[in-house]
Amino acid sequence: MRIGVVTFPGSLDDTDAARAVTLAGGEAVRLWHADADLHGVAAVILPGGFSYGDYLRCGAIARFAPVMTEVIRAARGGMPVLGICNGFQILCEAHLLPGALVRNDHRRFACLDQRLRIERTATAWTHSYEIGAEITIPLKNGEGAYVADEVTLDALAAEGRVVARYLGGNPNGSRRDIAGVCDPTGRIVGLMPHPEHAVEPGFGPSTDGLAFFTSALRRTGSQ
C-alpha cells in the first residue's frame, strides 16, 4: 500500500515518517509541496517540522501549498490523512480539523517522552490499538497546546473524537489534556506527539508508535 509523505520547505520529520511507513510494511511515496499531485497514494501523512519557517502562525502558509489543494480535496473524499505536530497544525489551519494549536503554556520548546492514552480506535490510524491503550512516544514542540471553544470541546467529547489524551500531567496546557483529535469519520487524524519517532527498537523511547502506521495499512479494502 502506498502512503504519501509530504515535504514542505522546513519539514523535518518527513524522512522519519517515510521510514515508519516502510517499517510498518507499506510503500512510502514522497510528495512535494509545489506539486499538486498525490501520485495515486491511498493515504497521506503531513509530517512535523516548521513549514516555510512558520514565522507566521504555524501551518498558516502550508495550507495554501499546491499539494494541499489535492490533499484537502482527497480528504473530503474520504482519503485517510494523518497530521503529526506541524501536520496537525496544518490540518487545523485547513479546517479539516477543529480548533488550533497555540504556544505551550510554559512558553518553552519541550521534548519529552510522553505517555498517552488512546481513546478512540475507530479511526484509520488507530484501529490497531486496544481502546484505552497507554503508550509512550516523543512529544516535541513549542506550540502544541490544543485549544478550541467550549462548545467544540464538548462536541468532540460527545462524538468520541478525542483520539488520544496526555497522561501523567499536562505537558503544554492543552485543553482537556487533548493530544489528538479526528474528523467525524475517523479518517482524518491530527496528533501533536510523534509516533514516527517510536517505531524502531533502540531509537526512541518505545515502539509504541508503529501501530499508527500499521493501522493505516491494514485498513485497505476493509473500510
Binding site: 523535518l12 516548521f50 519541550a110 521534548c111 510523534h194 533502540g202
Partner: protein, 752 residues
C-alpha cells in the same frame, strides 16, 4: 598629505597596517583595508595561537592520520569510519555575541558550525553544545541562560538536527563572558567530499542563500577581540548576526542535492568575515585568481558600501565554484528550494583577487596575503606568580563530614549543586529524536547516532571541558578534558578515533592567560599523540575576559568514536533489580578541583587528578569487549562529582535503586569513604552486571589487569517502606524520590 586611514578602529595595529602598505606597495583602498582587518583578526588568523597550534600537526604521526580524509586546515576534519562512510565534525565558539545578544548569538553559533560541516560535502546529522554561565544566583545569569538555551534550541530544532548531548557549567568567571561552544557532526560518502578551492579559470563563482545585510559587520575583528569592560557591553557595538534557521534548512537541503548531482566544483561557507573570507580563502587555495563583481551581490540593505558588503557576517550564505556547463543544473536545484543563487564572478588565471564595484576595481590583492599571510605573534607568556600558591593550597585543610548524618546531608546538597544537578531543564528544550537515528542522547553521557541504517554503524561523541582542572594546571586540565571525553565515548563501546577542540581563553596580551593557552595546547597535543587520536579541527576563542578577570581557561574537547553497531551501547543507569554493581578502576586521594571542594567549600586549589592514559585505554578496551559480548546492563563513566554523582544518576535513570558498600574499596585503595564518593580520579566507571554474566565480566577485567570491585546490587525496593532507594553503607538510605527532588529541582528553581 592624505588623511590617516581608520585602521585602529577596525582593530588593526600600526604595525599590521604598515605590513599591508608593504604588501601592496600603496595605500589600501577602503574595501581592501576592510578585508585585511577582518581576515587578520585574531578570530580568523589565529595570529596569537598559530605558533602553538602547529603542535597539533607536528604531533600527528602518519599512523594517526590513516583514517583522515581531511584534517586541520579544511573547514572541518573528515574521518573514514568504514564501509565507504565518512563523518566530519568540529566544535566552534560563539562566546562574545552570546553575551550581547544571548538568543541570536547562540542561534547563529549553531548556524555557523552547521555550515562548516555542510561545506565538507556532508549532511549535518547532530549537534552538541557546551555552555558556561556565570554564578547560578547572579541576577544576570537567568537572562543569558534563557537566551542561549532558547537560541541553541530554536535554531537546531528548526534545522531538524537532534541535539545529542553536551554540558553546562556555572562559575563566576563566566559572568560577563559566557561560553557557547557548539559541535556539529555530518555524514558523507567518501566520494562526496568537497574541497574549498577556486580552480579552473573560467569557472563561475556563485553566491547562494540569504541576502547580505548589515548585520555582524566587524564581528570577528572588533567584537571577538574585545574584552568586555566591567561596566558592560562595549560602546562600539557591532551588530550581532541575526539567524534564520528556515533559510539554513533549505540551504542544507539544496546543498545535499547539489553534491549528489555533482554540480559543485568547490564550496565554502560564509561565516566570520563573510565574503572577505570566502573569496580570499577560495582564491588562495586555488590555482589562479578570482574576479568578483560586488555590485551583483544581492543585498537586504541597498545602502551598504563595498567595504560593508565584504565585512558583513549575514548568516545562511554559501559560495560555490561551478563549471559553466553545470550552472543550469545548479540553478534548477537551488530554484526548487527557493534559494537565491547569483553568479558574482569567475575564477581567473591572474593570481590576484580582483573585486569591482559598478565597473571600478576596488580590491586588487594577492589572495594569500589576505587569507594566510597575516601577522603571527609569539606573544610573551609566563606562568602566573600565583600558580605556586594555588598548587600548595590543597584540599587537605577542608573540613569533612563528621558522621553518617552529615555525609547524607552533603550527598543531597551536592547532587542539587550547580555543578552536579540535572541538566534536563536545558536538554528538554532540544529535539533529540529528529532524523530517527539517535541511539543515545542526554541524560546519557555520550551521544550516539546511527550513520548507516543498513548495518547500524555509527558514531559516539562526547564533549568535555573541566575548567576547574584547567585553572589549577592548564597542561593537565587539557589532558583531563581529553580523557574525560575519551572515557565517556569508550563507555559506549566505541573506539575513539578523532578529536575536535574549542580552546576558550582570556586575553593573549596578558602573559598569564597566554601561558594558560600555550599550556592547554601543549597538553592536548601531547595527550592526543600519546593516545594516537588526532585533532582534526576546532577553533580558538581569545579575549574571554571581563575587565581584568579572565574566564577559567576552558578547552572544550570533543572526542568522536566509531561503533560497528550502535545497538551495543547500554544506558548509563540500571533498569532492573538484582544486578551486581562494580566499581572499575582505583580511587586516589584526589579532591583538588573537584565538585565537592568547589560546591561545599568554594575551594579551588591544589593539583588536579593524576592523568593515567594507559589505564584509560585499557578501561575502554575492556568495556568494549564486555559490551560486544553483552555482559553488562549499564555503564556509567565516573568524572565530575565522582562516584556520588554516578551512583545517584545511575539510580535515577530508570528509577531503580541500589544497595552499596564501599569499605573494601576504601581499604584496598587506602582512602576514606568521602574520597571514594567525591574524588575525581581518572579511568573509572560504574558498571551493572547481570548475575549470570558476573564470572565472564570479571574474567575480562582480570585478564586485562583492570582493577574492579563488587560494591553492591541493584534493588527496586530498598527503602523502609519498600520504595526505591539508594542505600549506601556509612551514608544511610536516600529514597529515589528525595534524590530526584534534589537533583532535578535546581535549574527549574533558578530559571523557571
Amino acid at each position: 598629505m592624505t588623511a590617516e586611514q581608520p585602521y585602529a578602529a577596525l582593530g588593526l595595529t600600526r604595525g599590521e597596517y604598515e605590513r599591508i602598505l608593504g604588501i601592496l606597495g600603496r595605500r589600501p583602498t577602503t574595501p581592501e583595508l576592510a578585508m585585511y582587518s577582518v581576515m587578520w583578526s585574531e578570530h580568523c588568523s589565529y595570529k596569537s595561537s598559530k605558533v602553538h597550534l602547529r603542535q597539533f600537526g607536528e604531533k600527528t604521526t602518519e599512523a594517526m592520520g590513516s583514517r583522515l580524509l581531511a584534517g586541520i586546515g579544511e573547514q572541518a576534519g573528515v574521518i573514514d569510519i568504514g564501509d565507504g562512510w565518512a563523518v566530519t565534525f568540529k566544535a566552534e565558539s560563539h562566546n562574545h555575541p552570546s553575551f550581547l545578544e544571548p538568543y541570536q548569538g547562540a542561534a547563529t553559533g549553531v548556524g555557523g558550525i552547521v555550515r562548516d560541516i555542510l561545506a565538507m560535502g556532508a549532511r549535518p546529522v547532530a549537534v552538541m553544545d557546551s555552555l558556561r554561565f556565570g554564578g547560578i544566583d547572579h541576577p544576570d545569569t537567568a537572562r543569558v541562560v534563557h537566551g542561549v538555551v532558547a537560541g541553541v534550541g530554536s535554531y537546531a530544532n528548526c534545522l531538524g538536527l537532534p541535539t545529542i548531548g553536551g554540558e553546562v557549567g556555572f562559575d563566576p568567571s563566566y559572568q560577563g563572558n559566557p561560553l557557547v561552544n557548539v559541535l556539529c557532526v555530518g555524514v558523507l560518502r567518501h566520494e562526496d567530499m568537497q574541497r574549498a578551492h577556486a580552480r579552473g579559470s573560467g569557472n563561475l563563482v556563485v553566491l547562494f542563500g540569504s541576502r547580505t545585510g548589515g548585520d555582524g559587520i566587524g564581528g570577528v575583528s572588533v567584537l571577538a577581540s574585545e574584552t568586555f569592560g566591567s561596566e558592560g557591553p562595549p560602546a562600539k557595538r557591532p551588530a550581532v548576526q541575526v539567524g534564520d534557521p528556515f533559510a539554513e534548512k533549505v540551504l542544507i537541503e539544496s546543498c545535499v542535492e547539489l553534491f549528489a548531482a555533482g554540480v559543485v566544483a568547490a564550496i565554502q561557507d560564509l561565516g566570520g568575515a563573510g565574503l572577505s573570507c570566502a573569496t580570499s580563502e577560495l582564491a588562495a587555495a586555488g590555482d589562479g585568481g578570482m574576479r568578483v563583481a560586488l555590485d551583483r551581490v544581492p543585498l537586504r540593505d541597498p545602502s551598504l558600501s563595498p567595504a560593508e558588503i565584504l565585512m558583513s557576517e549575514s548568516q545562511e550564505r554559501m559560495m560555490a565554484i561551478v563549471r559553466p556547463a553545470d550552472l543550469d543544473a545548479f540553478l534548477a536545484i537551488t530554484g526548487r528550494w527557493d534559494v537565491e543563487a547569483t553568479v558574482i564572478g569567475e575564477v581567473t588565471g591572474t593570481g590576484r583577487l580582483q573585486i569591482t564595484w559598478h565597473g571600478e576595481t576596488v580590491v586588487d590583492v594577492p589572495p594569500r596575503t589576505v587569507a594566510h599571510d597575516g601577522p603571527v605573534y609569539d606573544r610573551p607568556y609566563a606562568r602566573p606568580s600565583a600558580a605556586d600558591a594555588i598548587a600548595a593550597d590543597t584540599p587537605a585543610r577542608l573540613s569533612r563530614p563528621a558522621d553518617e548524618h552529615e555525609l547524607r546531608a552533603m550527598w543531597l546538597r551536592l547532587i542539587a549543586s550547580p555543578s552536579l544537578c540535572s541538566r534536563a531543564w536545558v536538554t528538554d528544550q532540544y529535539d533529540r529524536y529528529v532524523l530517527g537515528n539517535t541511539a543515545a542522547s542526554r541524560p546519557e553521557r555520550a551521544g550516539v547516532v546511527r550513520v548507516d541504517p543498513a548495518t547500524a554503524r555509527g558514531v559516539a561523541l562526547a564533549l568535555r571541558g573541566p575548567g576547574r582542572f584547567t585553572a589549577l594546571d592548564p597542561y593537565m586540565g587539557a589532558q583531563l578534558a581529553f580523557v574525560e571525553a575519551f572515557r565517556a565515548v569508550g563507555c559506549t563501546g566505541a573506539e575513539p578515533v578523532a578529536v575536535t577542540d574549542c580552546l576558550n581563553a582570556g586575553s593573549p596580551e596578558e602573559p598569564g592567560s597566554m601561558w594558560a593557552l600555550a599550556e592547554v595546547i601543549r597538553g592536548l597535543a601531547d595527550i592526543c599523540q600519546a593516545a594516537a587520536v588526532p585533532v582534526t579541527g576546532g577553533n580558538v576563542s581569545l579575549y574571554n575576559a571581563t575587565g581584568d578577570v579572565s574566564v577559567l581557561p576552558t578547552p572544550t574537547v570533543g572526542v568522536l568514536g566509531v561503533l560497528d553497531d550502535v545497538g551495543l551501547a547500554v544506558p548509563s543507569g540500571w533498569s532492573a533489580p538484582g544486578a551486581a554493581i562494580y566499581l572499575v578502576g582505583v580511587t586516589r586521594d584526589e579532591l583538588a578541583g573537584s565538585a565537592w571542594a568547589w560546591e561545599e567549600h568554594a575551594h579551588l586549589g591544589g593539583v588536579p587528578p593524576l592523568m593515567d592514559l594507559p589505564a584509560e585505554r585499557v578501561l575502554a578496551s575492556a568495556l568494549r569487549a564486555c559490551l560486544r559480548d553483552g555482559l553488562v546492563d549499564a555503564v556509567r563513566d565516573i568524572a565530575e562529582g565522582g562516584l556520588l554523582s554516578a551512583l545517584s544518576e545511575a539510580c535515577l535513570r530508570f528509577g531503580v535503586g541500589a544497595r552499596v558498600w564501599l569499605a573494601e574499596v576504601c581499604e584496598r585503595d587506602g582512602v576514606d569513604l568521602l574520597t571514594v564518593l567525591v574524588g575525581e580520579s581518572v579511568a573509572r566507571a560504574l558498571v551493572a552486571v547481570p548475575r549470570s554474566e558476573e564470572i565472564r565480566f570479571t574474567d575480562v577485567l582480570s585478564a586485562r589487569g583492570v582493577p574492579h570491585a563488587r560494591i553492591g546490587v541493584t534493588d527496586d525496593a530498598g527503602g523502609t517502606d519498600g520504595v526505591p532507594a539508594l542505600d549506601v553503607a556509612g551514608v544511610g538510605v536516600i529514597t529515589l524520590a528525595e534524590l530526584a527532588a534534589a537533583h532535578q529541582g535546581t535549574l527549574p528553581h533558578h530559571f523557571g
